[in-house]
Subunit: 311 residues, 2 copies
């Protein structure tokens, strides 16, 4: 494959060339030198960034597919960045991708991309915002970031979206219900998928009670709880409305601008950590690790020595 | 509360003072200056570090409790570091803790501690190895690190244990089966819990087939797949045997020493990233984030500017 020419690839991607867009995302994902040039060429655009998360089995892929259909019917273009860190070693292929690609694969207004965690801790934390920024800069109206809602880094990846949609489903067991406590903090909109199943009303009531118990100022945003059946499309229009309402509220209240700055802040932090890793002398690190493993040196002192060297 | 005197707390912890031990772990968790002193006072010991992971609902807490009982019967002391990043905002209280504390709470040979993710990305990646090192240095024979097996950082936390135990259970659905692909890479021992339930034989066969398909050198370790029923204790003695077999193999083959160095390496990396975060000028970062959010500056350039400043 030819070396990526950032300017050419950006120009092609702007005309709808999917291969060029794919190669740009790969560059971003691998944080190559070309990726930086791409970042300079394509400043972030005004897209509505929607984070979608929930436990395995709640129907994230199906709901995302149904939302895409609704957004397309409303005339919006949609890009999806699907993060699947539950298989860090297999390159993060998503079971749901095939399904979604079949539905939307031929639609030029839809772009779907799986992101794999490459290398170090924090790789996705740096790559995902960069991919979102690129896709918004290339003019997609809505950029979805989808992650599995278990694990701190996954939660950190979606929490900086303009609007965070938390998916729940009835009958997922006590353990999964417990995660709501954490997800409640970051939710802008709740959807209860599979709402035609037994227990859906109970799940909705529980979520409403949790939202009601949350201290929210009078001019604040109170997360709605919406029943949907993603497989039939029931409630999906109302869900799209709620997401759009939150985007409007965010713009009016200034919350969206604050979230955007937080997102940039998290991205800079992640990139700084990554640039630091790149500057680390691997031979020196290996030598220090042996000393620490042997008990001759404390790990914090080793870390300081490492930072003192190359920087 | 008095300021922690590291030397005094270490001396007390060595005599079995649980409050002192708890305060030491808290210091490690919060990465205080005292924690560094503690690290110097207590070099890592020869404990067998066992990582236990699996999806929510497979019975990690029950299996850990059953293993503790078996290890105690064999005369070993046990410390457990339970990481629950699925609720990053609630401080990570474990549903299972109560159960386990009731069983083992009064046994001086058992110490169980939940770790919460504090602050930044990577916090647990730095704190968990430090806690493991402390507990091994204080003389516990077996140190267990238990995490939810979903999410890259959680997998990264257990993968550096001397022995990695992956728990599965029958009938967890397709989505959870898919995570095996990633977990297979890091598994030293598989246990199929709830093996008295329908589908257990199938789960075992699937795992055996996956292990059989893995290229393993003749003198390598082939992960065994053991059926257990943690609630009744069935198969737990055989599981404890398999974990001990792997520890012996690791010592004989040199794999254990290599894993220990990898663990130190990951810890130093995490600590270096964290020390870097602490050196960052937060005002400068906030200003840079605003420029990036406004599209006036690319994030990688902002990260470089940040690193150029304080280091």
């Amino acid at each position: 494959m030819r070396t990526l020419d950032p300017a050419e690839a950006v120009a092609r991607a702007r005309t709808g060339d999917r291969l060029a867009l794919s190669r740009l995302i790969t560059a971003v994902e691998e944080r190559t030198a070309a990726a930086e040039e791409v970042g300079r060429l394509v400043p972030p655009g005004p897209a509505h960034v929607v984070g979608i998360t929930g436990s395995p089995g709640v129907g994230k892929s199906t709901t995302t597919a149904a939302l895409i259909e609704e957004w397309r019917a409303r005339g919006a273009t949609v890009a999806v960045v699907a993060v699947d860190p539950s298989s860090p070693f297999t390159g993060g292929a998503l079971l749901g991708d095939r399904v979604r690609m079949e539905v939307h694969g031929t639609d030029p207004g839809v772009f779907i991309r799986s992101m794999a965690a490459r290398g170090q801790l924090g790789g996705l934390a740096a790559a995902t915002p960069a991919a979102v920024s690129l896709l918004s800069g290339l003019g997609f109206d809505i950029v979805v970031v989808e992650t599995v809602g278990v694990g701190q880094s996954e939660v950190d990846i979606v929490r900086y979206a303009d609007t965070v949609l938390i998916l729940q489903a009835p009958g997922m067991g006590d353990r999964i219900q417990a995660t709501k406590a954490g997800l409640l903090e970051i939710a802008d909109v709740f959807a209860v998928n599979k709402s035609d199943r037994p227990g859906a009303a109970l799940t909705k009531r529980e979520l409403l009670a949790m939202v009601a118990a949350k201290p929210i100022p009078a001019d604040g945003w109170r997360p709605p709880v919406l029943p949907v059946v993603a497989t039939t499309g029931e409630g999906i229009a109302e869900l799209a409305d709620a997401l759009a309402d939150h985007a409007r509220w965010g713009r009016a209240s200034g919350a969206a601008a604050a979230r955007r700055t937080d997102r940039a802040l998290a991205e800079i932090r992640a990139l700084a950590a990554e640039q630091l890793q790149q500057r680390i002398d691997e031979d020196e690190l290996a030598a220090l690790a042996q000393q620490v493993a042997a008990g001759h040196l404390a790990a914090p002192a080793a870390a300081r020595r490492l930072l003192a060297g190359p920087l």
